[in-house]
């Protein structure tokens, strides 16, 4: 069985559309759910609308993608209008990004008051390429994580996922602080880096912002190791995100300690059917190895 439960909500499989991928409109999320995702996450919403960074926003490298979108989003007000009235059975996760804990807490309060039908709220505190946010504002430091989580939890009863970074030391401490402050799950994690790609003909970094977060196969070993370490230290569920492209990648993350996995860059390599394929491949692996429930291998790689 590949079906799981997260925050008491059934998911047909453990794949979650990662924030930032195909999450601008409700119809886009509905399509991803129909294509096989077990749950979907919106683009991160900020208080005010943001156009995002100048392009190129995404570039392919030998081993993954580098992106610097810069949190383009319609803002919380239009965003909540867009995603209201979610009718799919696949849980909806609303991602938020704030400049400080006041903004995170205001966003949480707005979402709580909107009565929007969402399974969880995700706090993105780990973007590596947007000035004023995430890593560029020190939001992934354990002390800051604790304060942000407390501020959000004060305003809402909606389960909270904290999205951490695999790029900075102290990720285990950050996860522990998040749990202590009341977070309901850890998402490990955001893109790695920032990294860079230089176009040698033009002698310039390709990404408009100069650098950006690395995603895809290149980051998998790092994020996987982070999931492994965090699993040893916290009891709340972990969502493993980073380079999951096949069913075997999913199994690997679950063995490291993940309950569910975030999928994003795989859509670039294998198309929208990635979710269904990853899930089917994992299911086949479980059956071939005599497991009746994916739950049975969570953390299997630990002693």
């Amino acid at each position: 069985m590949i079906e799981i439960k997260l925050f008491g909500k059934k998911m047909k499989n453990p794949t979650i559309l990662a924030s930032g991928i195909l999450g601008v409109t409700k119809q886009s999320l509905e399509r991803v759910a129909k294509e096989g995702a077990g749950a979907v996450t919106t683009k991160s919403l900020t208080t005010e609308p943001r156009k995002g960074h100048e392009g190129p926003n995404i570039v392919e490298t030998d081993c993954g993608l580098i992106n610097a979108m810069g949190y383009p989003n319609p803002g919380i007000k239009d965003g909540l209008t867009e995603f209201s009235d979610w009718k799919m059975k696949e849980p909806l996760i609303i991602s938020t990004a704030g400049k400080d804990r006041d903004e995170f807490s205001e966003l949480a309060s707005t979402i709580e008051k909107s009565k929007i039908k969402c399974a969880a709220l995700e706090a993105a505190i780990s973007c590596p390429h947007t000035p004023g946010y995430g890593l560029m504002a020190g939001q992934s430091d354990p002390e800051s994580v604790s304060k942000t989580v407390k501020a959000i939890k004060k305003k809402t009863k909606i389960p909270l996922i904290v999205k951490l970074s695999p790029s900075t030391p102290g990720e285990v401490a950050a996860a522990k602080e998040a749990e202590k402050a009341g977070a309901d799950a850890i998402n490990m994690g955001n893109t790695l880096g920032p990294g860079m790609k230089i176009d040698i003909e033009r002698k310039k970094p390709v990404i408009g912002f100069g650098c950006g977060g690395l995603s895809g196969p290149a980051m998998k070993p790092v994020a996987l190791r982070c999931v492994y370490d965090i699993y040893e230290s916290v009891k709340i569920p972990i969502i493993g995100t980073g380079g999951i492209t096949t069913g075997e990648d999913l199994i690997e993350y679950v063995m490291a300690g993940a309950t569910a996995v975030g999928v994003g860059t795989a859509v670039h390599y294998r198309g929208l059917s990635s979710f269904r394929r990853i899930s089917d491949e994992a299911k086949t692996w479980l059956e071939d190895h005599g497991y009746s429930n994916i739950k049975d291998i969570i953390g299997a790689a630990h002693d």
Binding site: I21, V24, S28, K43, I58, M69, E201, V206, H268
Partner: protein, 256 residues
């Protein structure tokens, strides 16, 4: 090398089409289907989707309608241009086609007329004669060409859809293909539906990634960059957004 690798070529020729459109011929041969597009990169100025007017040599015709395209006025012969692609799908051609090009929609329509090997009938629509482009080239490629201008300063006075109706009454075609202002294409799609002629339309939305993962260019549940930019008339008409609304860079809805 993938469709997502950045390519760079030298500009071999710059030619002014009219006061708002310039053609850039590159020292490069590209393999592309009519209707596919490139993401054009101007270092320091961003990246924008652009139609392909010709492939051998690669030729782009750009209407100077915003900051990015205004910047392109500075490009001269010998300068470098960088791009990725071709991206998206193309037109699926038939034996006889009516092409309806509005404004800078002449760009993909030209490659289609040139490459399809079909009997071609063409409507060129423009606001006025000063914005008309590609007339000579389409004259050569078409069995019949109708020019329509909103103000009547050249050819038929009226919109491109009215001109298309005239040509459809005169010639039986297997397919209508169009690229131009969306409201024009919507009227055309409705006309084709009424006349029971299949049509394919090249649509445009604000694009960021061009590879179908960011979700900026959604039209209903379709990604214009990856599932399109060419859609059938039925596909387009099935979305309430078609001809009515698009989204800005932040994803907020904007009326067309």
């Amino acid at each position: 090398m993938t469709e997502y690798s950045m390519l760079t070529a030298r500009i071999a020729k710059v030619q002014k089409e009219n006061y708002r459109m310039t053609t850039y011929e590159l020292d490069y041969k590209l393999e592309a289907e009519p209707g596919q597009f490139l993401m054009l990169w101007l270092p320091g100025k961003g990246e924008k989707p652009m139609g392909i007017a010709d492939t051998e040599p690669l030729t782009l015709s750009v209407a100077h309608v915003g900051d990015f395209t205004e910047e392109m006025r500075n490009l001269k012969e010998g300068d470098l241009l960088s791009f990725r692609g071709p991206m998206g799908n193309g037109f699926k051609t038939k034996k006889s086609m009516l092409l309806v090009a509005g404004g800078s929609g002449v760009v993909p329509m030209h490659l289609l007329a040139k490459k399809s090997g079909a009997r071609i009938f063409t409507v060129l629509g423009a606001r006025n004669k000063d914005e008309l482009a590609y007339e000579k080239r389409f004259k050569k490629l078409s069995e019949e060409l109708l020019v329509a201008t909103d103000d009547g300063s050249k050819g038929f006075k009226g919109n491109a859809v009215e001109a298309a109706k005239k040509l459809l009454e005169k010639h039986a075609v297997d397919l209508v293909c169009s690229c131009g202002p969306e409201r024009m294409m919507k009227a055309l799609a409705e006309l084709c539906k009424k006349k029971n002629v299949p049509c394919q339309l090249s649509l445009e939305r604000y694009m960021k990634c061009g590879t179908g993962i960011c979700g900026s260019c959604m039209l209903g549940d379709k990604r214009v960059c990856k599932d399109g930019p060419v859609f059938t008339g039925e596909e387009a008409l099935s979305s309430k957004e078609f001809g009515n609304m698009k989204r800005d860079a932040s994803g907020r809805p904007v009326r067309l």
